[in-house]
């Protein structure tokens, strides 16, 4: 487990094994905005830097996402796909999830109600 933390955002990383795949789960808590973006970006890029291309971003503790945060999700997902894996998100609150859907990100980034359901998608 590793943790990257800013005053208003923390991201803890855990590893789950699903069907012989190592899936990195990034548990995010707080606001993803201009102030915390650097920490969020560092956490999001860490799995790929460590050769892990199966990623779940646990958004259950996230209360706000700035446009750069959405953009980064898309960037990391494309990089994960290029490496033979994928990025999915899980646990959106109704507030954040509604915006994710309204902006159309659900068309390109799979979203699941829980981390457990997201893990099943890697089978």
């Amino acid at each position: 487990m590793s943790t990257i933390s800013d005053n208003e955002l923390s991201v803890q990383s855990t590893t789950e094994v699903v069907a012989d795949k190592e899936v990195q789960v990034l548990h995010c808590r707080g606001d993803v905005d201009t102030k915390t973006f650097d920490s969020f970006q560092a956490a999001m890029l860490q799995p790929l830097e460590q050769q892990h291309c199966h990623i779940i971003v646990d958004m259950s503790g996230v209360t706000y996402i700035h446009s750069t945060g959405y953009g980064l999700l898309l960037t990391v997902q494309r990089q994960a796909q290029a490496a033979g894996g994928k990025l999915v998100v899980a646990g959106f609150s109704s507030k954040v999830g509604s915006i994710f859907q309204l902006l159309g990100f659900d068309r390109v980034i799979p979203s699941f109600p829980t981390v457990e359901e997201a893990l099943q998608s890697f089978r």
Partner: protein
Amino acid sequence: MPPNPPAASTTQATFWSFDGAPQVLQSYRAEFAGSRDSLKAIRDLAESAAAHAHMGEIAVTEFEMAVDEICANIVEHSYEKHGSHTLLIEIALFSNRIECIVTDHSAVRFPITTAPTHGLDSFFQEERKRGLGLDIIRHSLDKVEHQWLSPQGNQTRLIKFYSGQQQ
């Protein structure tokens, strides 16, 4: 829409103000330090005002996001590069809409109304990495206006009509 009242005289001449504006049901006004540390408090103010207008959850979040995107742009692309000042946030609730005026002292013009946008669909199709903030602002609001406060400063006026209300 009622005509704009005369600009209030403060330390900076402004184009728009809610001071004395007719039909304002409730108003909020706060000045913040122009730094990233202020963005959460600004969002909280916008969210609180929109919630008082009994807007739905999505509409509240859209309004909050638009205000945040405007302020973050000023902080990141002007204040952090050319010297920081304050951000004045004024929010007014009318019977059919919510308005926010963001006044800055930036040396950089942010003519948001004329900046090119590509649309959210093109963001995915063209694999763009930047510009989503402007698309979000245009998507979230019904009207955006801008004035340059010569010799320095922008006023950006954000307008969102309540669901089902006349525009």
